[in-house]
């Protein structure tokens, strides 16, 4: 019946394409159109958080940590609500990770605090006996690169229309301000001082006051943001 198809490679290819595309069309497109939208509570990262995110990427935390809670009871019991696609709308790139040497971190901001992170990153075994996570002492002296973070924020604002300086929820207030580099930097320093004080480490507070944000402070601001 379909002998003619065998003699017409072009139509055969079209037929194969239609059959395969159909599955993709009904399974992927409608779901994607709906789920790729930002969830209502998703907000872009502030400058300091974005800088912390870059530290997270630079030090390859995602090699050992995932940021994706799957809808399984065993995971939601430990980490909280399962992750939704729309929560990653402002993650470029997303940091789902594919290996869990350590626990998932997608909602770590809910159940850890700044001082805990500072203790843990300085020496993981001081709070979790037997931890195999490496210590990250260099982060307590390395200075955060705010300029690159600002460049990233400005780029995604201009190119991808990420809603910086916009009123997202209609309450008449700008939700995540960015503004000029000077403005953004000033805000980042205020934020950094708050985080540094929460860590209860005077050396971090002194560094911020001296005009240098240690990487650990930016990283903690980012980790606290993960909710």
């Amino acid at each position: 019946m379909f002998g003619w198809l065998e003699r017409n490679p072009f139509f055969f290819a079209v037929g194969v394409f239609v059959v395969i595309a159909f599955a993709g069309l009904i399974e992927i497109v409608p779901d994607f159109a709906q789920q790729s939208r930002p969830v209502v509570t998703a907000k872009p990262y502030s400058l300091l958080e974005l800088a912390g995110r870059q530290v997270y990427i630079k030090d390859s935390c995602n090699a050992c940590h995932s940021q994706l809670i799957r809808p399984f009871k065993s995971e939601t019991d430990r980490y909280g609500m399962y992750s939704l696609n729309g929560e990653y709308a402002y993650d470029r790139p997303f940091l789902w990770g594919s290996k869990r040497t350590g626990p998932d971190l997608h909602r770590v901001g809910n159940y850890r605090t700044s001082d805990w992170h500072a203790n843990h990153m300085w020496d993981p075994t001081s709070v979790v006996p037997g931890s195999i996570m490496p210590a990250y002492k260099h982060m307590f002296t390395n200075v955060t690169d705010l300029e690159t973070a600002y460049a990233e924020a400005l780029t995604v604002k201009k190119v991808f229309n990420v809603p910086y300086d916009k009123d997202m929820d209609g309450d008449g207030k700008v939700d995540v301000p960015l503004g000029s580099y000077e403005e953004a930097k000033k805000r980042a320093f205020e934020y950094a001082l708050r985080v540094a004080e929460e860590t209860k480490r005077q050396d971090l507070v002194d560094m911020v006051k001296a005009g240098k944000i240690p990487e650990i402070v930016a990283l903690i601001a980012y980790l606290n943001r993960l909710k």
Binding site: A23, I26, F72, K73, T76, R78, T113, H120
Partner: protein
């Protein structure tokens, strides 16, 4: 010939012989066919560069399976999986519902041992990173759960009231609401703080002042008058569930809220476990 007495070995040998005989037989058949066989049957009209094809009907079983697959495929596309709005989240919700029902019926009347075991599990996973695996708070990084309150904590609450717990308008959700700041000051405050931190022992001045300044809310014995205000003597179920629900930002640090993350039975279990820490087992 010891090994032949084992019937598995016998069967294996029999199987090997059968395979050998069948292989030789089949090979012989095809060799014969190659030597003597002639092509028979009707050829189709088409040929591809001289290579033709017989007009054979496909086997019935194969055809039925093929048609069956097509019908199943149409059903699957249009009625089954994707368009029937299967959702992973839906499956998750059902899984959780079924689990919760089982969990609740299983632990409807837990014994103290059940609670201790469950509480230890919850504590080690959720609480030990801050409170330490022995519950002593890792050298002052979090509340030492083997004892109730420190003198500095009590003093801080007397001075700052509910603000010392994270929210000046009442933090822990007790019926009394908030605790006003500055009920006592100076040496009086010190004396009461010492008395409370010491487990309501010694210190007559503290005991007296407690009765006049604090007992109206925390009860004459400091046990909180059945949950009207926090129990200052021991970790009762109420203070644990209140702290887990609302969190606390005190003089030691920040205790995050665990709202919605533990079931009531688990909260009771972890409270039982925490009490067992100070019973000095």
């Amino acid at each position: 010939m010891n090994w032949l007495s084992d019937n598995v070995n016998q069967l294996a040998l029999l199987g090997a012989a059968a395979i050998l005989i069948l292989t030789i037989g089949v090979a012989a058949k095809y060799f014969k066919q190659i030597k003597e066989g002639k092509s028979e049957g009707e050829l189709k009209e088409e040929n591809w560069d001289g290579i033709g094809e017989y007009k054979n009907n496909s086997p019935i079983g194969w055809s039925l399976a093929f048609i069956g697959t097509i019908i199943w495929g149409i059903w699957y596309w249009l009625v089954g999986y994707p368009l029937d709005a299967y959702s992973q989240i839906g499956e998750y919700n059902e899984e959780v519902k079924a689990y919760q029902a089982k969990f609740e019926s299983k632990w409807a009347n837990p014994t103290k041992e059940d609670l201790l075991g469950m509480g230890e599990g919850v504590f080690l996973v959720q609480c030990s990173p801050c409170h330490g695996i022995d519950g002593t708070g890792i050298e002052g990084k979090a509340q030492d759960l083997t004892r109730r309150l420190l003198k500095e904590e009590v003093l801080d609450v007397i001075n700052r009231g509910s603000a010392a717990l994270g929210n000046p308008n009442g933090q822990l959700g007790y019926p009394m609401g908030m605790m006003p700041p500055g009920l006592l000051s100076g040496a009086d405050a010190e004396a009461v703080a010492e008395y409370v931190a010491n487990g309501f022992k010694g210190n007559d001045k503290g005991a007296e002042l407690f009765q006049s300044a604090c007992a109206s809310c925390h009860g004459p014995d400091g046990r909180g008058m059945n949950g009207m205000a926090p129990n200052l003597r021991e970790y009762d179920d109420k203070i644990i569930s209140a702290v887990l629900e609302h969190g606390k930002r005190g003089i030691i640090g920040t205790m995050p809220s665990f709202k919605g993350r533990l079931t009531p039975v688990q909260v009771k279990a972890v409270a039982t476990y925490i009490r067992s820490l100070s019973e000095g087992a």
